[in-house]
């Protein structure tokens, strides 16, 4: 895939989405310029919002999307559609909450990595059964992981309102985690960095995860096999690669990444787990959009996550200053996804034009 196409299509999609968004705003009687100005300033700062607050907000909202984007993107590389990243996210949150309560006594430098690993394992475990079913019976992962997301939602709801509840009356959330297991805010880690609103070390973990995924894909045997199976399972099989085993690994790693997204939110932002924590946020599903926009490429996914995070951060300001409902932002997000997906339509159209031209030439030959 040429570089132009790799970068050009996402940029074009965003521009088209923004353009159509303007039309919708106009139709709704809103001022597009004011709205987009508010959106931008909400994400990056300006007169309407303090830059430190804005950027911090953008980073916080982008962080879980980086993880889920990487998760879904990794699955895509093996030709698997991990639509259940949502459920794995929830399990990861649960794991983080549980281990967070468990390891509160350990020194931070030890507890946080352990909790993250534990959450990743929870996420991977949640993807394991769908992975096994796909490998053994061919059961489509879209259905199985999706169903498991629902199971995750109700399972954790029960656990949070029961065994892990804060108290008998406050049974819609877990106890607050001890500050010993909180992910430090960025200004505490990076010397000289001013206080960015809420932005926490989860961002650094996410970027590290992106680097690890990139190395995994390019520089390991597993990555080679995942890509091989994703491109051409028949040839991969001929080369001695086990398709079932590779499928399981790919889906479990995907689940692990989604699990870490959940952990990042719990340890960095909420510091506890609420009942139905992600039902509103939908990080898992947005992760699909991020993966598509980022063309399944770790670097692209980071950038795409930042974009979606920015949109999310800016929507509040847009509501405040331009009186635009935040649903408009969701429409723009949806339009972006649509146009990225529409790339297929464009390719089809181009090929069709070529075929028709060839046919016309062929008919001309026959008439000679």
């Amino acid at each position: 895939m040429s570089v132009l196409r790799t970068i050009g299509v996402p940029i074009l999609s965003v521009l088209l989405a923004v353009g159509i968004g303007s039309l919708i705003l106009l139709a709704g009687g809103y001022d597009p310029l004011k709205a987009y100005a508010a959106l931008f300033q909400g994400a990056f700062g300006g007169p309407m919002r303090k830059p430190l607050d804005a950027i911090g907000d953008t980073l916080v909202r982008s962080t879980p999307l980086m993880f889920t984007g990487l998760a879904v993107g990794f699955g895509f590389r093996a030709n698997l559609f991990n639509i259940g990243a949502e459920g794995q996210f929830i399990l990861g949150s649960l794991g983080a909450a549980w281990f967070g309560l468990l390891f509160a006594g350990l020194p931070t430098i030890a507890s946080i990595p352990l909790i993250l690993i534990g959450a990743a394992l929870f996420g991977a475990a949640w993807a394991f059964i769908p992975a096994l079913l796909k490998a053994r019976t061919g059961a489509h992962e879209v259905i199985t992981t999706m169903m498991f997301s629902w199971i995750a939602l109700y399972l954790t709801s029960w656990i949070i309102s029961g065994p892990l509840a804060e108290s008998a009356t406050n049974n819609f959330q877990t106890p607050m985690l001890s500050s010993a297991v909180w992910l430090p805010t960025l200004d505490k880690i990076i010397p000289g960095l001013p206080a960015l609103k809420y932005a926490h070390a989860g961002l650094l973990v996410a970027i590290a995860a992106a680097i690890v995924v990139a190395l995994l894909l390019r520089r390991t045997t597993l990555g080679y096999e995942v890509r091989a199976v994703g491109f051409n399972p028949t040839a991969a099989q001929n080369g001695g690669i086990s398709i079932p085993l590779t499928t399981i690994w790919a889906l479990c790693i995907s689940g692990a990444l989604a699990g870490m997204a959940g952990a990042s939110e719990v340890l960095g932002v909420t510091h506890r787990m609420y009942d139905q924590v992600s039902a509103g946020a939908g990080y898992g599903f947005t992760g699909i959009a991020v993966a598509l926009l980022g063309r399944k490429n770790p670097a692209g996914i980071i950038v795409a996550a930042l974009l979606f995070g920015a949109l999310s951060a800016g929507s509040g300001t847009m509501q405040l200053f331009a009186s635009v409902p935040d649903k408009i932002v969701m429409i723009i997000q949806a339009l972006i996804i649509f146009f990225v997906g529409a790339e297929t339509i464009v390719s089809w159209y181009v090929k069709r034009r070529q075929r028709l031209a060839l046919e016309r030439r062929g008919a001309a030959h026959a008439a000679e």
Binding site: R219, T220, T221, L222, G223, Y224, E225, R227, A228, F231, N232, T234, A235, A236, Q237, N238, G239, G240, I241, S242, L358, E359, R361, G362, H365, A366
Partner: protein
Amino acid sequence: MPVLELREITKVFPGVRANDRVSLTLERGEIVALLGENGAGKSTLMNVAYGLLSADGGEILVDGAPVRIRSPRDAIALGIGMVHQHFMLVEPLTVTENIILGHEPTRFGVVDRKGARKRVEELSQQYGLKVEPDAVVRDLSVGMQQRVEILKALYQGARILILDEPTAVLTPQEVRELFRVIRSLVDAGLSVVLITHKLDEVMGAADRVVVMRDGRVVGETTPKETDQIGLARMMVGRDVVLRIDKAEAHPTEVVLRVTDLVVKSQRGLESLKGVSLEVRAGEIVGIAGVDGNGQTELVEAIVGLRRANSGKIALKDRDITRASTRKTIEAGVSHVPEDRHRRGLILEFDVAENLILGDHRRMPFARMGITRPGAISITARKRIEDYDIRTPSEYVLAGALSGGNQQKVVLARELGREPELLVAAQPTRGLDVGAIEFVHRRLIAERDSGTAILLVSMELEEVMYLSDRILVMYGGYVVAEFEAGEVDAERIGYYMTGGKPTESAAEPVVASGGAL
């Protein structure tokens, strides 16, 4: 006036002329067999006639008048019907529902089920095609399903019926039944084109035969004027290729020993009915035979892509009957697959990555799960040089190479492993003369260095030229075995088409004739 005429049809796909000025006529009430190997262009031609493909050149005439067929809808309107090799039925629906699909009779805007059922029964009676109108297609036998497909074409008003490899999935009884049906259809006024590569069917059922090879018509005849050997020669022969001098073989120990191998397909039909063979180090054993007689299954069973139902495959003293592809590669078996695009290469990987496929877990290409790009690059460059692969660099995507160079990549990879046994299936398919010569040279060099080579090829001349011993497969058995140089193409062709050993002078070394 012919009921259907295809004149100078040309169809080009990227890199290949599937049809090169092909002409075919079909007279009323005739059964014409369109004969050729896989890839000869027969299906392409008929897909053009049926509107699934559009020709790049040529014209189509129905009843003498030129027509434009842009889609199957146009073809059906002209009375052309087609039954494909892979049925296009909707399994959960009933026979009647499938037959009327797309042309449902309606009464006041609602589908007229009673009327449809009645029409189906009428057709069934008229053409002698017994079916259960309310049976669900999923529950039917393959032979029955095919009948539904035929009725569908008849319901849509077909006067010209094209059957694409109709007997590929049928049992012998179902085949007999099908030809009875075809005869009765023709007696009722239809004209039939039968696409096939089975010579006995052609001889038994067709009024005329058109033979295609490499996208062109190479001959037209009738069963009266020829026999299976003649047909085989037309179908399988090729222009003479440069002959390289080769030394005599000096085979040593047995490397591959296959004993009573039985392989069944999903339907329980046996593709391999009990095959035994041996290949020794330093010799090339070639398997001649028309495609579809078990060669593919034999190759797949040996390399681990398919499970054997019974029998034994041994590599020297190792039993590899149940081995996976990974284990067979580790045991020292290399495989040049017959379809390099699907099975041989990953077109989205670059040349270097393709060159290590199968060895990618081992040193020097990887250590403990981490790949070593330096070593990969060095080996890739060496292979590119050794095998004269024309590519600007090892990082070019495999999909960008020409067919000949792609095959060289596959060969470089498989031979670079220095295998004990090389299984090569259709190694020169789709290659130009230069590339073919290269591959042949390489195979002979490999043999001379002590590798055991099992060659499967539909090109009879290639098999005869390269092999030290020639086996003939037919109907899932090895039916004959010859020493090279002691047999001619006619004799091999005879066995290739199911001929049984006779009391004549030139007897093969071994002739088992299968189910004698």
